[in-house]
Amino acid sequence: MKITRRQFIGTAAAVTASAGLFSFNMLGKADKAVADTESKVQIFRNVCPRNCYDTCAQISYVEDGVLKKVEGDPKSTYTNGKLCLKGYNYTRRVYSPDRIKYPMKQVPRGSGNWERISWDEAMNTIAEKILELKKRYGSTLPICMNKYSGNFGITHYGIEGTMSSIGYTTRAVGTPCWPAGIDAQTYDFGTIINNDPEDLANSNYIILWGSNCAWTGIHSLPFIMKARERGAKIVAIDPILTSTASKADLYIQIKPSTDGALALGMAKYILDNDLVDWEYATANSIGFEEWVDYVRKNITLDWAAEKTGVPKDVIIQLAREYATTKPAAIWVGYGMQRHTNGGQNVRIIDALGVMTGNVGKSGGGVNYAHLETWGFNYHAMSMPVPEGSVGVPGPNGTYSDRAVNMNNFAAEVQALTDPPVKMLWIAARNPVSQDPDTNDIIKMFNSMELVVTVDSFFNKTVELSDIVLPATTHFEDWDVMASYWHYWVGINQRAIEPMYEAKSDVEIAMALSKAMNALEPGSCTYPTEGDPEEWVAKEFNDGIHSMLGISSYKDLLDGPRKAKISPVAWADGQFRTPSGKIEIRCERAAQNGLPALPVWVEELKTSAQYPIRFMTPHPQHGIHSQFQNLDWMMAANPEPVVEIHPELAAQYGIGEGDMVRIYNDLGEVKIKAHLTRTTSPDVIVSYEAWYKDSPFNVNYTVKAIPADMGKLATGMDGIAFHDNFVAIEKA
């Protein structure tokens, strides 16, 4: 592993220069000396474990045990040696003065009266409570875990493992962000697989459908731009003229939630003008003719134009171009499916890809996500329940965990009675900040007897917790990471010692096990000892080894590896549906109460009382409630705004910089207005985030309206985040 150490010399030299050795010639000479003798800097391999397409391979520079800076690993052709604005902020996360250093307890909950406690006291308190609840209710079902994407590192499935190891518990099941699209592709293709994003460079026509990859997956953009250099046309379809859409050759401002209608309009044109790839469609799918029949009989371009707000001639142009330019790729963004008909809209777009023969082609595909490189052992998660554990009764005297909808968390938890939920374990998650219906979430938290949260900052969930346990950052822990978009897998080394008394989720599990078994032997099956590196080693299996072309996890210390699978999704035609074909007509969907065919399902409409759609997409300066609170990020982006079209603003007498009260029957939020014509005239936009010391939270008005799909592959339907209807007034 020969990595030049020149990069960090800049820092050393800058310090030297500012100390007064100010001679340019001398610097040159001193440089060489430093390069030869003073290599006290160590480099490590890390992988950003955030919920992000790019999942960057990182190189961290550590000097005297201190993380000096983080860069991208050039060995990954996707990361290409560069991070993003968030990745470059990592030292500020590790060394933030706001970082939670020790286990803390807050009495009373919500008072801000935090007191440091020892790990022993923390684990004992928690263990005692678990055992007390078990005694009171006869099971550990009153304990509810909510964990999701705060850290997607494989060993962080140790959080689920923690729960399993104490018995059967209540689990928040599902995923809020992307399940409707997952189900759609599961119904159609059998599972989600996307073309390698690097393959986008081979495309001749790219539709970015509801994707703002300039903010959410910037490393894919260069490949898209390479395609453009070769003459490809880039189209962006989005209700918002995002930074991504600003780069498109053609930007189409669509009425939110009508994407399926646009796709159907395109399909009608393609059908009428004999541009269908019958060979591909009939050879690889079932139910295609039935769907074609539906399109012929029910869809007109006039209808599509009216429904979507897109002029007929533009639909025609788009359809013709997409159908005749080969290969043509579609990137379906997750924002697009956060509607009540989101899953159905993805199914329709899938069908569009099939009808034009773009599925299974290099430079083509209807690309959404994949989980092909996630086949680890999940050893940290797979813990047996203690003997004699009781849970939700199943067949043949078996028991199981109790599932509660992560996407309707507050309501469903409060509705449970047998037994009720009395304790929350929150890790890699921030429901008070991120969940819909904040007021109800707060109410639910307040009804708990004990709330334990594992986190690094006093964020909104921690503020409503009784005990907070300090989490390590990924630089302080061993882990392995895969991406759900690109095909690289990387090892994450412990680059620095855990800060203060922080522990990783697996270390917390081991500590809890110790505490519980001390009070009641056998009450927790989680191992009480274990080396962090070994925990990672245990996640690897032959499948992963052969997929990555390695013989041991240690090979990844030399650099991340790309999975040895086809860069073209479905090139082999081996669809993973029950029939083995693309199921345009899908029985499973029908069985689950959904339309069998990719037909149009009406979108949710605004009401007279709440006539404005309030979209709350992903921010630029953070990932959900992470990063924005850090000092550099707060300096660059001090406050949130709500983007309002000037025509809409004028109707309410709102001027640039005025505070706007955005409200509905659920709650309200006040945000400063920024007038811009880059949003639709009837859509206001504010990016969800947690700003340090700010009450800002867009979720007060968001209802837990389910998206149409998600149950099949993820256990629960998704959330129609962008079907958020409000009224506004100048505050």
Binding site: R6, Q7, I9, G10, T11, A14, A17, S18, G20, F22, F24, L27, G28, D31, K69, E71, G72, G81, K82, L83, C84, L85, K86, Y88, T91, A214, W215, I218, H219, L221, P222, M225, I234, L241, S243, T244, A245, S246, K247, A248, D249, L250, Y251, I252, Q253, G309, V310, V314, Q620, D631, W632, M634, A635, A636, E647, T676, R677, T678, S680, P681
Partner: protein, 189 residues
């Protein structure tokens, strides 16, 4: 041999992601009170169609640097390659340079109580490496160039963009490739 190094920023490629800003901060671990490089979103009304258009500005290493002229302690110096360097050792924190620069590039670091600014990563350049911002740009929208007539005669290379101060004030060593705007199908027309 005297030349003038500077930045070429391509707004056609730039998506305003701020990777360059933060890569600079990452390289120097600079104080939260200063932003040596800043991304600005230009005003919608200055362009034909509303889109999100960005420029990224570090120090412009001007040919007539006001900071250098006004500094009472001579903390600024200009190298033969045109890079304007601020010697923080000499700085007394009088902040006159922060008043004099039309681009707000020298900034007062409230922790050390002295001014600092982008130094075109001269140490990296001297080692044959690209500046941190240039190296970090995912879309390759930033380049270090030699500001000369040859560059200025190239098609598409602009001395200024709408919203930038008059370049005649300090003759900044920054050039632009202007943004391109595609076809927009909008619902507000």
């Amino acid at each position: 041999m005297s030349k003038q190094l500077g930045f070429l920023h391509n707004s056609e490629k730039c998506v305003g992601c701020r990777g360059c800003e933060m890569a600079c901060k990452n390289e120097y671990q600079s104080d939260a009170s200063v932003r040596w490089r800043q991304v600005y979103q230009l005003r919608e009304e200055d362009f034909a169609l509303p889109t999100r258009i960005f420029i990224s500005v570090g120090c412009n290493h001007c040919q007539n640097p006001e900071c250098l002229r006004v500094c009472p302690v001579g903390a600024y110096s200009k190298r033969v390659d045109g890079i304007v360097i601020h010697d923080q050792e000499r700085c007394i924190g009088c902040k006159l340079c922060t008043m004099a620069c039309p681009y707000n590039r020298p900034q007062y670091n409230t922790t050390v109580k002295k001014v600092e600014k982008c130094n075109l990563c001269y140490e990296r350049l001297d080692r044959g490496e690209k500046p941190a911002c240039v190296a970090a740009c995912v879309l390759e929208a930033l380049e270090v160039v030699e500001i000369n007539e040859e560059l200025d005669y190239k098609t598409g290379v602009l001395k200024t963009l709408p919203g930038m101060p008059d370049p005649k004030i300090t003759n900044p060593s920054i050039r632009f490739i202007g943004p391109k705007q595609g076809v927009q199908i909008r619902r507000d027309v």
